[in-house]
């Protein structure tokens, strides 16, 4: 029977096991950077589209009142492409990293993380659809940021603690944008673009270098 040589070694292994069994830590920092880049490109596309289609100052993706059907369709499609690219790249890079580290990708910890992320995120998604449905498009960008931030804070229990800080920053962006009408798109770009890039770079430096 194997025995420990030193209490320090024992404690290190206990800690390691506790972390590996309850948290999913293979999430690649690069996926954050890519998600941020996609979001920035998506936001730029929305900006130019709205500028070209008579949304005078172009600052707001969600002008007061009900937007035209075409605009809505473009923005929804734009957001969907950003989302699919971000998730796709994230899955690809995280799979690669998990393989490299010798961890299994969809272990119990990963499943817990996904479920706990999904509950607030899907709630937020339905909430945003309802906002658009009722014509309150101004609230969509803040609501996306706030729900995403809450989802991250909630899910941080099941992954690196640093995710909590990212969540707090997203919530702050969402709350501030609530009081800055006309700058929804700008805050959306900062929250989903710049913050993701900064966070991804930070995580890469801290854990993967």
């Amino acid at each position: 029977m194997e025995k420990y040589t030193s209490p320090e070694e024992t404690l290190t292994e206990i800690r390691h096991l506790m972390e590996r069994s309850s948290r999913f830590i293979s999430l690649s920092g690069f996926s954050g950077i890519f998600a941020g880049i996609y979001a920035l490109v998506g936001a730029l596309a929305a900006y130019y589209y709205l500028n070209a289609h008579g949304n005078a100052d172009g600052k707001d993706a969600y002008p007061p009142g009900v937007p035209e059907y075409d605009q809505l369709l473009f923005l929804a499609g734009d957001a969907l492409i950003v989302l699919i690219l971000a998730i796709g790249t994230g899955i690809f890079l995280t799979t690669r990293r998990a393989k490299k580290d010798g961890n299994s990708l969809l272990d119990a910890a990963a499943k817990k993380l996904i479920i706990n992320l999904a509950i607030p995120l899907l709630t937020g998604g339905v909430f945003c659809i309802a906002l658009v449905y009722h014509g309150n498009t101004f609230y969509v960008a803040p609501a996306m940021l706030i729900f995403y931030g809450l989802a991250l804070v909630h899910a941080s229990k099941y992954t690196r603690d640093d995710v909590r800080s990212l969540g707090m920053a997203e919530i702050a962006m969402g709350l501030i944008s609530l009081f800055m009408p006309g700058y929804g798109l700008l805050f959306w770009a900062i929250g989903f673009g710049a913050l993701h890039i900064a966070y991804g770079a930070y995580m890469y430096n801290k854990y993967e270098k």
Binding site: M1, K3, T10, L11, E13, L17, A108
Partner: protein, 100 residues
């Protein structure tokens, strides 16, 4: 030094058993295969250590069916948690003793 070791818990002597307890401390319940993957053990090896922990009532076993497949999950019992904490404290004392 020798005297400190007297308080060491025999049930946690093996790293496998300590490993099982570590995982169960931070997870409400864990199934057999997850434990096997985490600790990188064979079925028989893990089963015998689980039995040992079960005998001293440090863990509880819950058997149920998911569809037709039997699914057994394990949780740390109150006694087990207490013993684990005591064991950690003991390790801590040991490290402090070395440092001084």
């Amino acid at each position: 030094m020798k005297k400190l070791l007297v308080n060491f818990n025999k049930a946690f002597e093996s790293r496998v058993r300590l490993g099982i307890m570590s995982v169960l401390m931070v997870n409400q319940s864990v199934d057999f295969n997850t434990l096997k993957e985490l600790l990188i053990l064979s079925d028989g090896n893990l089963a015998s250590h689980i039995r040992a922990l079960e005998e001293v009532r440090y863990i509880t076993v819950n058997k149920q069916f998911i569809g037709r497949k039997p699914n057994t999950t394990y949780s740390a019992s109150k006694e087990g948690k207490k013993a684990f904490h005591a064991h950690l404290k003991e390790l801590e004392t040991l490290i402090r003793g070395q440092a001084v």
